[in-house]
C-alpha cells in the first residue's frame, strides 16, 4: 500500500496541511490503520523533495503556524500513472495459516483443532465486520471497505474448509517427505 500516493491523491482534491491530511485520510479509509502524524509529515517532506508536492502557503488561524501543501504538475502526472497501474495479483500469498498447519502436522499437534479454532476466529471477525457495515447510517466507504475484508476472510475460510476435508492426505504427504 503506497501511503505516499494516497496522501498525494488527497492533496490533489484540495490543498491541505498535515493535520488536516491525516484527518481526511482516516475518514476516507476508516478500515485502514490510522496514520501517525509523524508519518504524514515525513511523507509530505519527501513528496516536496521529489517535486511531487509544494508549499501552498502558511496560516496560523490564531494557533501554531501550519504549512499547507498542494500537488505539482509532476505530482499529478505521477498520480495518473500510479492509479492506472495494475496491482500485481500475488500468486504466492504469504500464508501464515498454511505455515502453522504444516508445522502442526510436523510436530504432531492437532491440526484439525487448529483449523477449527482459526475458522471460528475468522467467523467472529466476519460477524463484527457485518455488524459495522449494517449499522444504521453507515456510509458507503465503510460498507465497501468492510466488504473487501469480508470477501478476503471468506476466501480464507473456503480454503480452510477444503483443507480440513483433505487433512488426512496432507498429513500423509507432509510426514512422507
Amino acid at each position: 500500500m503506497s501511503t505516499r500516493h494516497i496522501l498525494l491523491g488527497l492533496l490533489a482534491s484540495s490543498p491541505s496541511h498535515g493535520y488536516d491530511l491525516k484527518r481526511r485520510h482516516d475518514e476516507r479509509f476508516p478500515q485502514a490503520r490510522p496514520l501517525a502524524y509523524g508519518q504524514v509529515y515525513t511523507t509530505l517532506q519527501r513528496l516536496v523533495r521529489d517535486g511531487l508536492a509544494e508549499v501552498d502557503g502558511t496560516a496560523s488561524d490564531g494557533g501554531p503556524e501550519r504549512t499547507a501543501y498542494r500537488v505539482t504538475d509532476e505530482g499529478a502526472r505521477e498520480l495518473t500513472r500510479w492509479a492506472a497501474e495494475i496491482a500485481p495479483p500475488a500468486p504466492f500469498v504469504t500464508n501464515e495459516i498454511f505455515a502453522k498447519l504444516v508445522v502442526s502436522i510436523l510436530t504432531g499437534a492437532d491440526a484439525d483443532a487448529y483449523l477449527l479454532a482459526q475458522r471460528a476466529a475468522h467467523m467472529r471477525r466476519m460477524r463484527e465486520l457485518t455488524a459495522v457495515k449494517t449499522a444504521p447510517g453507515t456510509d458507503l466507504t465503510t460498507v465497501l471497505s468492510a466488504d473487501y475484508a469480508l470477501t478476503h476472510l471468506d476466501a480464507d475460510l473456503r480454503w480452510m474448509t477444503t483443507t480440513a476435508a483433505r487433512l488426512t492426505t496432507l498429513t500423509a504427504e507432509v510426514c512422507a517427505t
Binding site: L116, A117, A120, H122, M123, R127, T130, T134, D147, L150
Partner: protein, 231 residues
C-alpha cells in the same frame, strides 16, 4: 424475552435421527434456538442441514430423537396441529421463494393472513406494509415470473414475516442471488428479526451470509458441532 430465557430455548432438538431411504441424513443431531436469536447452520452439501431444518420446522418427523418447541413435543403433535403451528408461529423461506406463480406479490404475502382467517382487504393492507418495509412496494401487482430473483425473495421474506412468527426458518435464502441482492436480503432479514424479536434459523453454506447471525453451528455427517471457541 426474560420468560424465554428462564424457560430455556424456544426450540430444541435432541438426538435427531432421520434417514431418506438408505441415506442417513441425521445421526444424532442436537441444536438449540433461543428466543430472538439468529442462528446460522452451516456445513457442506449433503451434510444434513436442510433435513435438520425440516425436522425443526415440523415439516418432517424425525425417525428418533425429540423436537421441543415452546415446551411442546413438536415431533409428537399430529400433522393438523403441526401445520397450524407452521401457520401461526413459524415462517419459512426457501432458496427459491416458492411463491405461488398465479398470484401477485401482494396476494402471495396476504395469503398466510387469509389462511388464518383475516379478511382479504385487511390482509392485503398488511401485506402492502410488509412489501414496503422490504422496499418491494413496486412489485406488489407483479407475479413471481415478472420479478427478479432478489425481488421475489423479498416478497417471500415478507410472506414469512407477515403473520408475526416467533421463528423464521430460512433454507439457503440467498442461494440463487448475486452478492449485492444477497447482502440486501440478509440485511433486511436481520434487521427485521432483531426489531421484532423473531428467532431465525438460517441454513447456508455461505460464510458471508452466516456472518449476519449471532451464532453459528456446523452440521457434519449428520451431527451438529458448535463453531465457537470458548475463551
Amino acid at each position: 424475552m426474560t420468560n424465554g430465557e428462564t424457560r430455556g430455548p424456544l426450540l430444541a432438538a435432541t438426538g435427531l435421527v432421520k434417514a431418506h431411504g438408505r441415506t442417513q441424513a441425521l445421526r444424532g443431531a442436537d441444536v438449540e434456538l433461543r428466543a430472538g436469536e439468529i442462528l446460522a447452520v452451516t456445513g457442506p452439501s449433503g451434510s444434513g442441514k436442510s433435513t435438520l431444518l425440516h425436522c425443526l420446522a415440523g415439516i418432517v418427523r424425525p425417525d428418533a430423537g425429540s423436537v421441543t418447541y415452546d415446551q411442546q413435543r413438536l415431533d409428537r403433535l399430529p400433522e393438523k396441529r403441526r401445520s397450524e403451528l407452521r401457520r401461526t408461529d413459524f415462517g419459512v423461506v426457501f432458496q427459491f421463494g416458492q411463491l405461488i406463480p398465479e398470484l401477485t406479490a401482494l396476494d402471495n404475502v396476504a395469503l398466510p393472513l387469509m389462511l388464518s382467517g383475516a379478511d382479504r382487504a385487511e390482509a392485503r393492507a398488511r401485506a402492502g406494509e410488509w412489501l414496503e418495509r422490504f422496499e418491494a412496494s413496486g412489485q406488489a401487482e407483479r407475479r413471481p415470473g415478472e420479478m427478479s430473483g432478489g425481488q421475489a425473495q423479498r416478497a417471500a421474506l415478507a410472506r414469512a414475516l407477515v403473520t408475526g412468527p416467533k421463528v423464521v426458518f430460512a433454507d439457503e435464502p440467498t442461494g440463487a442471488l448475486d452478492s449485492l441482492a444477497s447482502e440486501q436480503l440478509m440485511a433486511a432479514l436481520a434487521q427485521t428479526a432483531r426489531e421484532s424479536g423473531t428467532a431465525v434459523l438460517l441454513v447456508t453454506h455461505d460464510a458471508q451470509v452466516a456472518a449476519y447471525a449471532d451464532r453459528e453451528v456446523e452440521v457434519r455427517d449428520g451431527a451438529v458441532a458448535a463453531l465457537e471457541v470458548t475463551a
